[in-house]
Symmetry: C2
Subunit: 148 residues, 2 copies
């Protein structure tokens, strides 16, 4: 599936240009199964795109995050990880994170049930604490089998 046109359009609407680094980063995120860090992306793209700079990876990820195309996860070890956000409700999930190696597992168990609760909590909080709420995250932290 190629959301490329969608992105291209969204970029134009925000006066952002469609460039080779951006395309290949989006392409990689689309192909990737899990969550990728900036360095993961840099390393994965290097063979086919040796000119790419790590700075550009960071900048692109920040742009994609700002445009809501990508979701950022920060718990775990000290580095941010990113995944494409599908927009499909069926793909809504939360995270199970290994605090030792940083591995992130997407889970979809009970998310249906969470939804209603999240919705009303979000509404109550926004009003009560004068926040514009942009996102929520539900995470379980622990140690994965490999790290034990």
């Amino acid at each position: 599936m190629h959301a490329r046109h969608q992105w291209h359009r969204q970029f134009r609407a925000n006066a952002c240009r469609w460039t080779a680094p951006r395309e290949s980063i989006l392409d990689l995120l689309g192909r990737a199964k899990g969550h990728l860090s900036a360095k993961d992306i840099y390393a994965a793209l290097y063979p086919s795109f040796p000119g790419l700079g790590l700075t550009t990876v960071y900048r692109t990820l920040e742009l994609l995050h700002r445009l809501g195309i990508v979701q950022k996860v920060t718990s775990g070890d000290g580095q941010g990880r990113y995944e494409l956000r599908s927009g499909q409700a069926k793909d809504h999930h939360h995270h199970l994170i290994c605090t030792r190696c940083g591995r992130i597992v997407n889970y979809r168990d009970f998310v249906e049930e969470e939804l209603e609760l999240v919705r009303k909590t979000e509404e109550a909080l926004a009003k009560k604490y004068d926040f514009v709420i942009q996102d929520h995250s539900i995470e379980f932290l622990g140690i994965c089998g490999t790290c034990r």
Copy 2:
């Protein structure tokens, strides 16, 4: 209320010593209303404890976290923040975080309702993904009134 004896005992049980830096950091966390970063703590303690090193603050926080005395929150701006965990069920709460300034608000709305859901999710995940789950976090991310 002085949980000092509790902590002292817990330290001894783990072959950790009861020292001046540790006592004053715990004391500060006990008095503090919100979440404190390592630098917050360092700065707050400096006047009465000029000898204290930032390194020790980090080390102490890590120890307290390892002993389960303190909870660590990492989203928001790039720095970790810590709060004493009370152990009282009534104090169970989640976080509303301003992604611009890092401010953390504790909320207790609907936590009761979350509890059951969290419990069964945790159990299912632990089994399904072979994780030893140590903690969970539910966060809402947004921009607070002051930052807008």
